[in-house]
Symmetry: C2
Subunit: 205 residues, 2 copies
């Protein structure tokens, strides 16, 4: 469905990299959104539960076989599953989505996976540091000069981030998807990055 | 089990408030811990899936009926379920754990729930601002002078935090549970609070 944001999760995924974007899509500062523009859905290799790094079990909405061909965005979440055989199946999924012009996000080790499969060679990007991109990417990563030392980077419909860039990653994807007004997205970002106490002090200045 | 950290989740729970603590218990900076001191477990009203605010389905390990009597910590995660009938059942669970001296954590609306049931009246605490604690707590909240304007607060085995205090909440619980060395816990905290880019700049000063 065109209003679905698909989070592609492999076993031992990093749940902190899903949480902020998915909750901001469903909720605003006042609670659950009454008319959210998008719906969050989980895609995993099979319909069996996938687990967070911490061991919690998440039930997928779709498997690789049943996932929709259309969506608003495909978001590849980091973690320790991106060097597995299962991950290889994601190559064709990403290729199809990129060809269709669908917004794609990748964070942490999922960016390194993109490097390993040549998806970063025509876009500005960031990730878990240049060294990791080169290490995973080897001869398939040929765009070192496109690396940006930033928490997150958005270029040509592809948003990349390092693993601590969970909030900047969410912000860039929210902006691309127009989840809310620019002002509200910035509020969301600063409130969570600074934390309530520092945020309130900043406002009182 | 004495090595289990129990996350008590109600429907529409805030997954960003679970993610950092649970992943830090299972992983360190280098990946999955080989010999983690604790195991994360999900407790929910029933064994049916509970949903994040964003709509993701989490499979509980235990229901209120099957949860163990012993654990290392009970962690009440915020979200939009804390004024439901189901939440009333949590009162006796918290009372038992506090009487046994088990470490208890509560974040965001879960702290306001504690205020509503008189659990904050003999400890220093924080939460989603004093106004919300008074609003939810009414006549059962009589310890306004114990309120601390901080991201998180730890006193007498009870850790409280506001919803943006997800990292400070994790830090205080990790310190109480001795999940890692004090230095590693501080590294975890600053790395995630500052983000990789600012963290590296700070180290190069």
């Amino acid at each position: 469905m065109k209003n679905e944001v698909l989070y592609l999760l492999l076993d031992n995924y990093a749940d902190h990299e899903v949480a902020f974007l998915s909750s901001a899509i469903a909720c605003d500062g006042g609670g659950m959104r009454r008319q959210p523009r998008y719906v969050n859905r989980v895609v995993a290799p099979t319909l069996r539960p996938v687990h967070t790094c911490g061991g919690m079990a998440t039930l997928p909405d779709y498997s690789f076989a049943t996932m929709p061909q259309e969506c608003a965005a495909l978001v590849l979440i980091g973690g320790y599953g991106w060097q597995s055989e299962e991950a290889e199946q994601v190559v064709s999924i990403v290729r199809t989505m990129r060809e269709q012009g669908v917004v794609v996000g990748a964070i942490c080790n999922a960016v390194s996976f993109l490097a390993a499969h040549g998806f970063l060679n025509n876009v500005r990007h960031t990730g878990n540091g240049l060294e990791q991109l080169k290490q995973w990417g080897r001869e398939n990563y040929t765009h070192e000069e496109g690396y940006v030392a930033a928490q997150a980077c958005s270029d040509d419909g592809l948003v990349t981030a390092n693993g601590t860039g969970y909030l900047e990653f969410a912000r860039e994807l929210m902006l691309l998807l127009e989840v809310d007004t620019v002002e509200n997205i910035e509020w969301f970002y600063r409130f969570n990055r600074l934390g309530y106490i520092d945020f309130m002090q900043e406002r009182m200045k």
